[in-house]
């Protein structure tokens, strides 16, 4: 068996997605009052279109822009945590954590931590400049939004 190319793998995933989508579309309840087009028609059409397109994609040969370029081999030899894909993963996790602690910890503290922490992780070594920038930007935004625009942002553990 030959190995599937990238387009074919994606096409299979999309086909799976469209089947799931169609299954959900069939569960949309019909509206008690008569409507020429009910809520379920559009989703059903969309689901079948996506299914059809994924078949076409399966048959399409990937060109240069359809496969990711090779990553820098030098970067691949860095310590595990600093490799390209780890950088993406760590950033994604950091953002998710930020979202979850924003309300309990508070806007100012968690935002400063995010800016400072990520910049340091990406390799910024001037920690004091980093901290000053993070504090300045976050506090500036916080004060503009809460004091001038009257938007409420979570205060969390800090009294401001």
């Amino acid at each position: 068996m030959t190995r599937l190319n990238s387009n074919q793998v994606i096409a299979l995933l999309l086909a799976l997605l469209s089947v799931g989508y169609l299954a959900m579309a069939w569960q949309i309840p019909s509206f008690p009052l008569p409507r020429p087009i009910d809520s379920d028609l559009f989703p059903k059409v969309l689901g079948f279109t996506l299914l059809g397109l994924s078949v076409l994609l399966f048959l399409e040969k990937p060109k240069a822009q359809d496969v990711p370029d090779e990553l820098d081999p030098e970067e691949q030899r860095l310590p595990l945590l600093l490799r390209p894909w780890s950088r993406v993963a760590v950033t994604a996790v950091a953002l998710a954590v930020y979202a979850l602690i924003l309300v309990p910890v508070g806007f100012v503290l968690s935002s400063v931590a995010l800016v400072f922490g990520l910049a340091a992780y990406y390799g910024y070594r001037r920690h004091w400049v980093n901290l000053a920038t993070a504090l300045g930007v976050v506090l500036g935004l916080y004060l503009t939004m809460t004091r001038i625009m009257g938007v409420y942002l979570p205060t969390g553990v800090l009294p401001i």
Binding site: S6, I10, L14, P29, F31, L33, R35, P36, D38, S39, F42, P43, L46, T49, L50, L53, S54, L56, L57, E60, K63, Q65, D66, V67, P68, L71, E75, P84, R87, V88, T91, A92, L95, A96, Y98, A99, L102, V103, S111, L114, V115, G117, L118, A119, A120, Y121, Y122, G123, Y124, R125, T133, A134, V138, L141, M145, M149, G150, V151, Y152, L153
Partner: protein, 496 residues
Amino acid sequence: MEAFNNLMYGFSIALEPINILYVFAGVFAGTIIGMLPGLGPISALALMIPLTFGMEPSSGLILMAGVYYGAIFGGSTSSILLNAPGVAGTVATSFDGYPMAKQGMAGKALAIAAYASFIGGTVSIIFLMMVAPLLGRVAVSFGPAEYFSLMVLGLTAVVSLSDKSLVKGLIAAVVGVMISIMGIDLQTGTERFTFGTVHLLDGIEFLVVALGIFALAEVFYMLLKGGGGKEQPRNAIGSLKLSKQEIKQIAPPIGRSSILGFFTGVLPGAGATIGSFLGYSMEKRLAKDGDTFGKGNIKGVAAPESANNAACTGSFVPLLTLGVPGSGSTAVLLGALLVMGVSPGPAMLVDRPDVFWGVVASMYLGNIFLLVLNLPLIPLIAKILDLPRPLLLSLILIFCMIGVYGMSFSVFDLLLLLGFGLLGLGMRLFGFPAAPLILALILGDIMEESMRRALQISGGDWSIFIDKPISMWLLIIAALSLTLPLIKRVMARRSV
């Protein structure tokens, strides 16, 4: 002549010192609000209403209008520099503006955006002044059937926006429509694809997707490719100057897009976002070098920027002449006017000419202020690119997060933003164009809604879409724009 007298009268109001101050304050605040991703003009305007309590209505509207068009003007900055659209209307600007910035032409891109915005804004003020009273009728002539056909026409742009692979472009577009119809279906009140969570009842906010797929995905991509902190920042901002040839190149697109944008803005519900996309895709199709669009073509910055500013001014037509808001922002303006004791509508031109003509005249001033304010600021603002790369990346991330949180106050939306960032990265790695997804996201639900609304009115009779002349013509143009390129290609092959 009458228009001239009216305008002079308007200037006599707009040039009162206090009003000059309000114009300036408005456009200045607007520029800054526009530059910050996420903090859109709608919430900014709503939160400003208390400020206008007790103001002269003309002054209040002059101030708030300044914030509105100032935000659209300023929104291009973060689109170009950071790939993070400041307001929804400037998403299309990032298609070519950001590649230009990456090629060391940030200064030029920002300057083109400023000139195009200025011209788009000014041209449409002239239109607003000359034909506003007549245009009221154009605005109401668009009913559900006409909107459906307009959205179909808009969606044909998917083809020209997905030049790499049509199949992948279409897939992106279908996914865009799928996202756009999530949430409560307005036609029936039925929940669709909400996965049982209340957070999805209103669907997904446009800017969450746009910021995720553009800004966040770009940061992820840079992390993957850019070598983290090793690489020195690209610090070339480049010259602001345009050559004669470049001016010649962008002049026709600016002219066309200004007019197109204005009329899109006049239609209630269409607005700056759709206007800028229509302008962009029109120019891409007309241009001989259409295949360089998306790679830093100056026309790709000029067209959407003139269109979105023109549309922004155009959206004052239904507000001021009919008293109906054409967009979220103008809805807030309407509310503010009511609070100040002015009811916009047909009677306003007669009862409160000071408000109408004062605001129109103030917009001329405001646009000049914006240009004068923005041009000298460009080198300063573009310095943001001089920031060390690690710091810049983490700042872009926090701006996106704050922008989304400040808009919806929802942790769920932050997680969605992250999800769309990863989706955007994946699309980028495997050659799926992002523009069709965004376009379909904007147009998809309006298309479905107006189609069903039209059929509900006609009792299920599909001929409503061709019985109405405007609707029929839009559909014909849509069909032509799909088939003409094909015919051209076939003809070209034959003649060889």
